[in-house]
Symmetry: C2
DNA sequence: GTCTATATACGGATAGAC
DNA sequence: GTCTATCCGTATATAGAC
């Protein structure tokens, strides 16, 4: 499966995401007309990610956001109760989507090699679609409060655990060489994250997302795969 | 060479660093008594890194810093002219040290395989010694001004280029398989950076720096090394 | 639902005493 | 060389008009 196909099959358009956010935050959102709310939520999140990813969430003032989103200060506060609440909504929603898509894609496969490939490919493709969110999430984790910070760490470990489980399965199947699954999963995750953390670099070099996913897959398999094992 | 040996041979104690900062910023530092200046610079940088790495440089107020460093607001400003200037001094100094040590260590070797191992090991060991700085530098790059931001990017690319050059040399020598040197260098760098970016994870798991360096070296060599090539 | 105007607090930076 | 006290801009958040 290449990126174009992945994008067609998956449903995470801006509209889908806003609809989810809207229905999950009905209580705190004072705007009740769905059409208006969806339109403005989209503008708010886009603007917040754009400004934050340029100069940091803390450095983004509500006036900045208000200007970029085309809404007044007062209107903004009809959609969230405080700047911190906005941060948490963004983080929560992205995490939920990531986990849902990753699980579904990995467990659609059965063999360990196929699952490993699916995990690598899906993470990279998803972070391509939602690059601003992935970057934001990584850089702003430490600005979260106690409670939300724990959830963010749990989410980071969840992704890693998906890979650990695949590696263990592969070791048991004889498909992978004996290896330290946890350490291997850590460095694999680091490679996946580089795609959205250094996006400026890859864009400048015209490295395509398919090219990157392919490269990482080959790199990882050179270490993990048992030499003689037949890949189905 | 293991971490203990590396640490003994290299001279980057807090005192060394402060002395360098002091002599390079004589103009802007109003405190002239060296002993006093070194002591306070040490406290200021330690505190600034500690607070910033917990909640971000922007979120750190000068009052926070003043309290943590045990100096009054007025006294702080005898050591730097503005909060932004403080940020730039920290970034500049760390970059200079990193480049110096990395160059020296890599070019002390001759063969491509030895150089690749030296680059991996040195980067990981150095980021272990200066972990707070490396983390800070990574997370706060986007808060720099235009001018300093360019230098930070140049520095990021410098490290990568060191690895690219080694990989090309190895390809020419026949030690490495044909590979995309630039892409390979990118993902290798990502693995090196994970050591200081996810330090909390590795500390919790009691992964030692020697263990990590060894693992990354093996992982990279599984992909890069030509199967039959004799490593000296 | 959205706006403008404003309350209130906190930020960086400095003046001037010691 | 360091401190305390203070200036002044800007931040978040809200009240109340439309």
């Amino acid at each position: 499966m290449d990126y174009a196909e992945f994008k067609r099959e998956i449903h995470v358009s801006k509209d889908d995401i806003c609809r989810e956010i809207f229905s999950e935050n009905r209580k705190s959102i004072r705007v009740k007309k769905e059409m208006t709310a969806l339109k403005n939520l989209g503008r708010i999140f886009d603007s917040a990610l754009r400004i934050s990813n340029k100069k940091g969430f803390q450095a983004m003032s509500m006036r900045d956001l208000s200007k970029e989103a085309g809404l007044s200060m007062g209107a903004l506060y009809a959609y969230f109760s405080s700047k911190e609440a906005l941060l948490e909504i963004i983080q929560r929603q992205g995490r939920a989507i990531t986990q849902r898509i990753l699980k579904k894609s990995v467990y659609a496969e059965n063999g360990s090699v196929a699952r490993l490939r699916a995990a690598i490919r899906t993470h990279i493709y998803l972070s391509e679609i939602m690059q601003p969110w992935f970057y934001f999430s990584y850089m702003e984790t430490k600005n979260l409060g106690e409670e939300e910070s724990k959830k963010a760490i749990a989410s980071e470990l969840f992704t890693e655990q998906v890979i650990v489980d695949i590696l263990r399965q592969g070791r048991d199947e004889g498909a992978f060489v004996p290896l330290d699954s946890q350490l291997a999963a850590s460095v694999i995750k680091a490679m996946l994250q580089d795609w959205y953390l250094k996006r400026w670099k890859y864009t400048k070099r015209k490295t395509s997302v398919d090219q990157y996913a392919r490269f990482v897959t080959d790199f990882v398999e050179a270490y993990c795969l048992s030499p003689g094992f037949a890949v189905s």
